[in-house]
Amino acid sequence: MASAPSKLYADDVSLLMVLLDTNPLFWSTSSLPFSNFLSHVLSFLNSILLLNQLNQVAVIATGYNSCDYIFDSSVSTSRGLENGRMPALCSNLLQKLEEFVVRDEQLCKEGSENGLASSLLSGSLSMALCYIQKIFRSGPLHPQPRILCLQGSSDGPEQYVAIMNAIFSAQRSMVPIDSCYLGSNNSAFLQQASYITGGVYLKPQQPDGLFQYLSTVFATDLHSRTFLQLPKSVGVDFRASCFCHKKTIDMGYICSVCLSIFCKHHKKCSTCGN
């Protein structure tokens, strides 16, 4: 749909970017099996598309070594596989997802596993924001974009700088980042993202009711959110990670020129050279 007649455009048309965490190490140890998770998410995507005729959904997979677009509702599908058990969109998505996982595995380097590794959230956030910028430039009428992160793996402190940059550019473009965190302890990056951009951060208490959480909290468009009371997080973990060792710190040194954070005193700032 390149452009829609203006009289069909209402306040509540939304573009939802879903960032799906496909870190195999997390899903192999998660209490919620990946297949159940996928069924929740697929039904949720379906319901989003049902809410408004002009709603758009795009799914990006956050892998262990790479990220890629898996699904885009605005692209008309040529092969409409419908095998009676699920709608066409699901089968397309699953097909693409499987191909992505295969590619991601091939990119694996030797000896890179260390417990619960992190997935490339910064990459998928950047890709989502690029897609949103493309939508912004598509014409005068466009849906209101928002990003939903379905993340389970823990934060990788080495991605701190990139994630913070993505968060601030989302804030600047007024794109809220909602996060539904399925891991065990809270994710500082996602809490900060939701806090700074005005989104909702949720850590579901019952993972097998995930669809209920998604449809209650994350399905509403931005216009209707002003009338709703959504869960607020009690406190936000604002810790940063240092630029040199990528450790999480709460007290450190800052370059007075570029505000880079270091854990130890440096004579010269590695970012700006002052």
């Binding site: 195999p24 192999s28 990946f34 262990y64 997802l97 991601d104 669809f211 810790r239």
Partner: protein, 557 residues
């Protein structure tokens, strides 16, 4: 005393915040010896005087049960227990005492604080009440704060009551009314001063005055003129007030030049069509010869308005009209002197309405510097707990997979769902219901207050908070020399003890609270901790400074 020894019960504290181990302190001519009550405890002190570099010893020499505090700068501190006697070190009137007791009786919070601190010997009465000066003052002068002006019904006060049956007319006269009459009519005032008590009694004076009033009220100018011609004194009351007239003429002459008093045809609204009631002007002509005996309502009202706005210039007991009259004269004479300055002064006095002023003590906002580490530690504890649980669960079901296996299982789940399709139902109804309930509870609870447990501990914290503010205020006032008393080390150290006790109380509160609500309670408790820390630091620094300066000591026992 004769053996050259002093033995006292004391508590040995290594730092200010230490609760202190109880024991016996013996002071001989050569040294201090401290033995704790508990023989197994290690804290013993055996210091010879030669080794002490400097110390500050103070005692209140008022009674034999002196509370003495000795501090040794070799980083050991010994404080002795004191008896719970509060020395009344200022004279209090019985009225003040009564007032204080009334206040205590009415306010149970105040009573609790009073009991805790004054009876407990931490603060003296004077200190306790010093911070509550506002309360005492307000009660004392509450009634008189507002200055009462004249009544608006001044001119009606002198209206008579007519008795229909007999032909008698009764006038009521009170000192207040007399005062009002003097202010309203300076001519009457002048006459009063001249005639009473030299020429006629007061009663006669007022009788004549009211006769004049009655005549005026009949509005019969001819009768008035006739009566005035007969009685001289009555004439004074019946004629127009010449003093007022003089003043008015003077004011007219001194009108502000910027005021445009020229009237032209445009200002004449009375001859416009449709203005006012159509009157036959013929009736008015005959009464011009008695004009001076006519008094119109508008004149009365104007005069009353002027007087009410001026306010009471004299604050004298109204009982004796003579004194009132004289006081009024005096005030008028003062006015004549330096008109502008007096007027300005009077204006400032009148416009300053005390009970409409803002209260002088500005409510302070407590400084709240949250230490983020507290939150992280709490969260970390929670997280570790859940992580351990999760880990245990996972270890039971699955092993740590290698990365290939992980990818394999991922692909398997994808193919599984491709073949099986979406599960039906997606979410079980009971699970969905519990999720919804949980969400609504979460949303509503973050708005309203938490459960009972937290409330209790928050109330505890608040109680401690009020206690802390008490001691803290007095402590600070000493250190910044705000208080009116001399700084007494004994009292200060007593305060310090109380404060260290509350410090411990705070710790207990923090620990007793469940981890969920700890964050909120620590929000309350944190600033109190920091305030106490700062106070202690300041105190220590001050002590060090004093001892290094070599201040004169009060001497030993």
């Amino acid at each position: 005393m004769s053996s050259g020894e002093v033995i006292k019960r004391a508590k040995y504290k290594t730092s200010v915040k230490d609760p202190g181990t109880p024991g016996v302190l013996k002071m001989t001519e050569q040294k201090f010896l401290f033995n704790p009550n508990d023989p197994s405890s290690v804290t013993k002190l055996d210091v010879e005087f030669a080794h002490i570099k400097g110390n500050a010893l103070a005692k209140s020499g008022e009674a034999a049960k002196a509370a003495s505090t000795a501090k040794v700068t070799s980083s050991t501190k010994v404080a002795s227990e004191k008896s719970a006697v509060s020395f009344p070190d200022e004279q209090l009137s019985t009225a003040e005492m009564e007032l204080r007791m009334n206040l205590l009786r009415e306010d149970s919070e105040l009573q609790k604080l009073h009991k805790q601190f004054v009876i407990g010997g931490v603060l003296t009465e004077s200190e306790f009440w010093a911070t509550r000066k506002k309360l005492l003052d307000v009660d004392n002068r509450g009634k008189l704060k507002q200055r009462v002006g004249f009544k608006s019904t001044m001119i009606l006060d002198t209206k008579p009551m007519a008795d229909g049956r007999t032909n008698k007319v009764t006038f009521n006269l009170t000192p207040e009314i007399k005062y009002q009459i003097f202010v309203l009519k300076p001519a009457v005032h002048q006459a009063f001063l001249n005639l009473v008590p030299s020429k006629m009694t007061e009663k006669d004076f007022w009788t004549k005055y009211f006769r004049a009033e009655y005549l005026h009220s009949t509005k019969n100018a001819i009768t008035v003129a006739a009566e005035a011609a007969e009685d001289e004194e009555l004439a004074i009351f019946l004629k127009e007030d010449n003093i007022l007239a003089r003043e008015a003429r003077r004011k007219i002459r001194r009108v502000d030049p910027t005021l445009d008093m020229e009237a032209d045809l445009g200002d004449d609204y009375t001859h416009l069509p449709d203005h006012g009631i159509f009157r036959d002007g013929t009736k008015e002509i005959s009464e011009t010869q008695h004009e001076q005996y006519m008094r119109t309502l508008s004149q009365d009202l104007n005069r009353q308005g002027a007087v009410v706005l001026e306010g009471r210039t004299v604050d004298v007991d109204l009982e004796d009209p003579r004194t009132v009259a004289e006081a009024l004269v005096r005030s008028r004479q003062e006015l004549d002197g330096d008109k502008t300055q007096e007027r300005l002064d009077r204006l400032s006095r009148m416009t300053d309405i005390e009970d409409l002023r803002e209260p002088l003590d500005h409510p302070f906002a407590p400084l709240c510097i949250k230490d983020p580490r507290d939150y992280f530690d709490a969260q970390q504890a929670n997280a570790l707990k859940t992580l351990d649980d999760a880990r245990n669960k996972m270890e039971q079901t699955k092993r740590n997979l290698s990365i290939d296996e992980a990818y394999g299982s991922l692909r398997d789940s994808i193919s599984k769902i491709k073949t099986m399709g979406l599960s039906d139902p997606i979410v079980k109804p009971e699970v969905a219901l519990s999720v919804l309930n949980g969400l609504t509870q979460n949303i509503s609870s973050s708005k309203f207050q938490l459960g009972k447990n937290s409330r209790e501990s928050i109330l505890d914290a608040l109680d401690v908070h009020t206690g802390i503010t008490e001691t803290f205020l007095v402590f600070i006032s000493y250190y910044y020399n705000i208080s009116s008393h001399k700084v007494d080390d004994v009292q200060v150290s007593r305060l310090k003890d109380a404060m260290s006790q509350t410090y411990r109380q705070l710790e207990e509160i923090k620990e007793s609270v469940q981890s969920d609500f700890r964050h909120k309670v620590s929000l309350l408790v944190r600033p109190m901790h920091q305030a106490l820390d700062a106070a202690f630091q300041h105190y220590d620094a001050d002590q060090q400074k004093r001892s290094s300066k070599g201040e004169p000591l009060n001497g030993f026992v």
